[in-house]
């Protein structure tokens, strides 16, 4: 191995072999992990934590080096190319030790590829912590002797055996002969490879049915006709509840903290333009949005927990038949659920939908799923319009119910759109067979989950925060001048806003909401920041009143509030989602179509809602 340039080591393995968790352990990076096959979609690269001259490359999981789908082909081709160009110094083939045979079928293919390319190979039998826990032995020495390549027993989760990887790699050599147990000539026959893998697994692998029996018992519970159905709804309900009940105290804490800081700062700044700026743009605009960060943290954490547990694959089985009615497949469930946290990971997760038509339909559903960026807008409007009263002895809160309603509304819209579009052409009705590996149930590993939730919140603050900061400052400047905040209506922004007022007037919204909606097309949460700034400028006596209170005081009718909610539930106001979708589909066609059609759909639905509520109330 060349000592100067970094030693490049590829990690390859079948989906759900725990490669990414191992990669994160080795490099200290944060590649997305989930206990669901096929979640790694890009090649991740990172320097080793213990030796910076070593670089690990995490390849997307594939079942075979003979690809059958487009995405798989991309992954296999990139691995082939890396082998061909001599870019790699060694390969680690990661297999799930608890399901050794499946991993060995793939490992034998990799062994053959490494032999042809004279590439050192190490086989890492991952998840050995599970075997240790149940005291099930694995004969790594026997396996290594049979395959004539080093085999290490490791755990990406607990870190067992990882310290041996560098020395094992250093001493690994390229396989010199193809594995042939009975001395026959190796053939490309699938059945032969299969028999070999089976024989090896039987001889050296973990014995007994302990793990699979435990898994089956849980499957019989979670997929039971009615127990399974009920547990599905209970789990989804808890997911939903957690966002509000767990995050609420932290949100209140952030709000009080901001208020204390605002009072402290404003007491020290003399009245005038500077204090106006700090109160309106800083605390009014950016503060209004910071309050929602805890919710995003909790939501990402809970969705991550579900992903890690292995339950999602069962949810996909439960949802397969019902989703088929709406033109989707059970595999659409995972991208759609991820989109409840954020549409961007949802778009990436759609790669696990192997049928191109169904994936395309899943893309249509994703932007309508109630993502966390809508939460600030929903929470604000609901707090402004729905009384914080409880019914049925405190069991049901009206605000929670309203939130549940608007969430369900988004999901129903998504399903109706896919149902209608899928029926529009015979091609879209066609289906690929449903074959899905059922991963073992696992207790979530907290460290990566917490880190992922932390990163997502940080991303939200830094990425969206930057946009919100710029927008609020611009909005403040335009709203404050030329008359130093004396009259918002006569400011530059007021003049501009009145020009667009007719567009939103049919919902009974004045120009301030029009400006906030316009800015929210960058990202939905900007709405809250903009509105916070505008009300801040207007409110002459600089009392720190919550934004929802200010909306209430402004006398906005319920019908307009409902129209706003519906508008935000449908409109695709997220530049990042559009960009990621363009990247994934290879063109701006679909994002452009979706943006235009969902904007029109949102406008018409909001108009209808306004009229309906006006009629009823």
């Amino acid at each position: 191995m060349p000592p100067s340039s970094p030693t490049k080591i590829a990690l390859i393995g079948s989906p759900n072999s725990g490669k990414s968790l191992l990669f994160n352990r080795l490099t200290g990076l944060n590649q997305k992990v989930a206990n669901f096959p096929g979640i790694t979609v890009d090649i991740g690269a990172g320097r080793s934590l213990v030796d910076s001259s070593t670089e690990y490359l995490d390849f997307p999981g594939v079942y075979s080096l003979k690809a059958i789908s487009g995405e798989e082909k991309l992954a296999v081709d990139s691995f082939d190319k890396a082998l061909d160009t001599g870019h790699l110094d060694a390969v680690i083939c990661v297999v799930d030790a608890t399901r050794l045979e499946k991993g060995l079928i793939f490992a034998l293919q990799v062994l053959e590829a490494c032999r042809r390319h004279n590439m050192p190979l190490l086989i890492a039998a991952n998840m050995s912590d599970v075997l240790e826990l149940h005291k099930i032995p694995l004969d790594t020495h026997g396996l290594a002797a049979a395959l004539k390549v080093p085999v290490l027993s490791i755990s990406g989760k607990t870190g067992i055996g990882l310290e041996q990887i560098p020395s094992a790699i250093a001493s690994a050599t390229a396989p010199t002969e193809a594995y042939a147990p009975t001395g026959d000539i190796i053939t490309s026959d699938d059945a032969l490879v299969h028999r070999q893998a089976q024989q090896l697994a039987k001889q050296y692998g973990p014995k007994g049915d302990l793990l699979i029996n435990a898994q089956t018992r849980l499957d019989r519970f979670f997929l039971h006709s009615w127990v399974g159905g009920i547990s599905f709804f209970v789990i989804m309900y808890l997911l939903f509840q957690s966002i509000f009940t767990w995050a609420a105290p932290i949100m209140d804490g952030v709000e009080s903290l901001l208020q204390v800081i605002a009072d402290l700062v404003l007491a020290r700044v003399p009245a005038g333009m500077a204090s106006d700026f700090i109160a309106d743009a800083m605390f009014g605009g950016i503060g209004a949005f910071l309050v929602f960060v805890p919710q995003i943290f909790v939501l990402t954490l809970v969705v991550g927990m579900l992903e890690d547990s292995g339950y999602l694959a069962r949810a996909a089985v439960i949802c397969h038949k019902p989703l088929r009615v709406f033109g989707l497949t059970g595999k659409s469930f995972i991208p759609m659920l991820s989109s409840v946290a954020c549409a961007i990971p949802g778009v990436y997760a759609a790669r696990t939908v192997d049928s191109p038509c169904k994936r395309w339909l899943t893309y249509l559903a994703i932007p309508l799923m109630p993502c966390s960026a809508r939460l600030p807008v929903y929470t604000l409007l609901i707090a402004a319009f729905i009384p914080a009263q409880k019914a049925l002895g405190g069991l049901i809160g009206w605000q929670g119910l309203a939130m549940f309603g608007i969430y369900v509304f988004g999901i129903i819209c998504a399903l109706l759109v896919t149902a209608m579009v899928s029926r529009s052409s015979a091609e879209l009705r066609s289906d690929l067979p449903f074959v899905l590996e059922m991963p073992p149930y696992r207790l979530p590993s907290w460290r990566p989950l917490l880190r992922n939730a932390w990163n997502r919140s940080k991303h939200f603050v830094t990425k969206a925060g930057k946009v919100i900061f710029i927008v609020t400052v611009v909005v403040w400047l335009l709203g404050y001048f030329p008359n130093q905040g004396a009259s918002l209506g006569d400011s530059w922004l007021g003049t501009l806003g009145k020009w667009i007022e007719p567009v939103f007037a049919p919902f009974g919204l004045d120009w301030k909401y029009g400006v906030a909606i316009l800015t929210s097309f960058l990202a939905r949460e900007v709405f809250v920041g903009t509105l916070g700034t505008l009300f801040g400028i207007e409110d002459a006596d600089e009392n720190f009143v919550s934004l929802s209170q200010q909306i209430q005081d402004s006398g906005l009718p319920l019908s307009s509030g409902a129209a706003l909610l519906v508008f935000f539930a449908i409109a695709l106001q997220c530049v990042s989602t559009l960009a990621v979708m363009a990247k994934e589909t290879g063109s701006w066609r679909l994002p452009t179509q979706l943006f235009v059609s969902y904007s029109i759909f949102a406008y018409l639905a909001a108009l209808l809602t306004y009229q309906l509520v006006e009629l009823l109330v």
Partner: protein, 74 residues
Amino acid sequence: MTLWDLTQGTSATISAFAGSIEAGYRTRLSELGFYPGETIACVMAPSLGAPKLYRVNNTVYSLDDSIASMIEID
């Protein structure tokens, strides 16, 4: 009989694939362990026509009717 006809808790040996199965799927199913001569157990057959769970060695896969009915069993 096909794999889809297996009831929960029973096993059978795969005899052949239906002629109409796509070559790519045939290869993939073989790689997953579904190949003629292999014994497959149906570990879970949820009601309402949901995909069934089949065990091949130490791995469980879920297959829907469209694919399971293309795998013939003895």
